[in-house]
Amino acid sequence: MAGTTQAELTQRVFEILRDDLLDAGADFTPRSNLVAAGLDSLAVTQLMLAIEESTGVWVDDSLLTPENLESAESLAGLVYRQLQGS
């Protein structure tokens, strides 16, 4: 995933959530509130594992704060910062 832009990462996180992890409606967007959309601890861990598989970066759960879990966009921002720092 070297060279991945934040926008691409946001789209990837959004697609995993929409297609594999959440039973979200058609109005689910990268800016939708994830907890309101049904995100729970299992879905987050599965998402982090999927991200680790594709990027090699494991996001420590101490970073999974309400702010970072606000939306697919904010979550992707967290992962992007981790990628940049790794």
């Binding site: 039973d23 049904g38 299992l42 987050v44 879990l69």
Partner: protein, 449 residues
């Protein structure tokens, strides 16, 4: 009910069959059945006739509520026999009158404890019953207990069912409309082959068996042939106390995994009792149910839709609370990474075909006759957003999960309107009064930090 078969049957889920093995064991050895309960403590104004009419209408619209459970021709996977439901009685609703308490909240009715120890009949479609205790004819409020066999609903399903009854009562949705009771969305797509499922099931069993290298000992001791005599206590924290506990759980275990904070506290509470007894617990092995419903949707109401994550901890870890939480977090991630949630689904699927006694035997074999150290459940907010039920305000509400006489102890934790409820279910005689006091003191001290 699109998942119902052409012959008017609906198969039990693998998790249902897994629980059915313990239902059978309890019937055979303890004279009861695997009954779960949901309790609502209500204010005045409960509409009894409206509730009776709605339950009856629901049972007519959804035959699963009174469908006998049996294997086809005595063989094959067990099913709900929907076509036979019309010949079965309606879910029973009993009204009991009691005097208003002189002051404060009345103690929980003894009758509710008794219901946990009275068998319901799978063959007669007796899957659900209600008991309503009215104080001063209802003027001083009421307590409602829904008792059901833990394969009609799981905990999440039972909450959804009561919410659905209330929404129908309010005219907010039609009676016939319920989420499809069909299979939970597959954990992986495409569906794995039989061989892959077999390997997954063996991986789950192997994971469980490995914990037997240092087997647990429950407070009740291994498998007991003794009459089931469960009762429970409910400790409700104040709003201020609850705020402290919730904040501590988030801070010490993480925003999304507060259940591990509560599990660590439950482990230490049990450990305090073992220490007081001067008995070596071996290790602590505890299963944590994982809700498999798709996240964000309404999800299934009927049947059991869970897998299990097993945790193991050791007595030498009990002095370091934060170290214990960190280890539980690592175990959880490792289990999910290894695919054990999906493996558990496949392992329990094989319970559809295996004899019940074989499955119960397998579950206990590797842990020296124990199922686990104790049962634990954290169900988060209880009926969030539902302020009233059939005209009466909901003062409080909580789950009472079933626990076989061995391990004989179960702690369930939930939140209702910013107040934490700790429901401790235990088999009579497993903990002395002094040990119960030790258990609750340790638990409270850990939760409040």
């Amino acid at each position: 009910m699109s998942a119902a078969g052409a012959a008017g049957t609906l198969p039990l889920t693998g998790a249902d069959c897994f629980l059915r093995a313990f239902d059978h064991e309890i019937r055979r050895m303890n004279g009861a059945s695997h009954v779960s309960q949901l309790v609502l403590r209500l204010g005045p104004g409960f509409d009894v006739s409206g509730f009776q009419g709605m339950v009856e209408a629901a049972a007519r619209a959804h035959p699963l509520l009174r469908a006998p459970v049996a294997r086809r021709l005595g063989l094959g996977a067990p099913v709900f026999r929907l076509a036979a439901a019309a010949r079965c009685p309606m879910p029973r609703i009993e009204i009991h009158e009691a005097e208003a308490p002189a002051d404060g909240e009345p103690p929980l009715p003894e009758l509710f404890f008794a219901r946990l120890n009275q068998p319901l009949s799978l063959r007669r479609g007796e899957l659900l019953r209600f008991d309503l205790v009215r104080y001063a004819g209802g003027a001083a409020g009421a307590d409602l207990a829904a008792s059901w066999l833990h394969l009609l609903f799981d905990g999440a399903g039972s909450e959804r069912f009561l919410r659905w009854l209330e929404e129908c009562f309010q005219g907010q949705r039609p009676l016939a409309e319920l989420p499809d009771p069909g299979e939970v969305a597959p954990v992986r797509s495409p569906k794995p082959s039989f061989g892959e499922r077999g390997r997954a099931a063996r991986a789950w069993q192997g994971w469980h068996d490995a914990m037997g290298a240092r087997p647990p000992r429950s407070l009740a001791g291994p498998l007991r042939r003794t009459p089931q005599a469960l009762r429970y206590t409910v400790s409700t924290f104040t709003a201020d106390e609850t705020a402290r506990v919730v904040e501590a759980a988030r801070r010490r275990a993480g925003f999304l995994t507060p259940m591990l904070f509560y599990l660590a506290a439950a482990l230490r509470a049990h450990h305090a009792v073992f220490q007081a007894r001067g008995v070596d617990p071996g290790s602590y092995v505890v299963p944590l149910p994982v809700n498999l419903r798709p996240k964000g949707g309404e999800g299934a109401v009927f049947r059991t839709h869970v897998s299990l994550i097993w945790f193991q901890a050791f007595p030498e870890q009990m002095d370091d609370f934060d170290g214990l939480v960190a280890d539980l977090k690592a175990q959880r991630v490792a289990a999910i990474r290894a695919g054990q949630i999906e493996n558990g689904v496949h392992a329990m699927d094989f319970a559809r075909l295996a004899p019940r006694r074989l499955y119960a035997h397998m579950a206990r074999k590797s842990l020296g006759g124990e199922l686990c150290s104790f049962f634990f459940a954290y169900t988060d907010a209880f009926l969030p957003g539902l302020a009233s039920f059939f005209g009466a305000g909901i003062r409080n509400g909580f789950h009472v999960p079933p626990v076989p006489p061995s391990p004989g102890s179960c702690l369930a934790i939930s939140l209702r309107e910013q107040r934490l409820n700790l429901t401790h279910v235990h088999q009579r005689g497993v903990l002395s009064e002094r040990e119960l006091a030790i258990f609750h003191e340790r638990l409270r001290a850990d939760l409040l930090g």
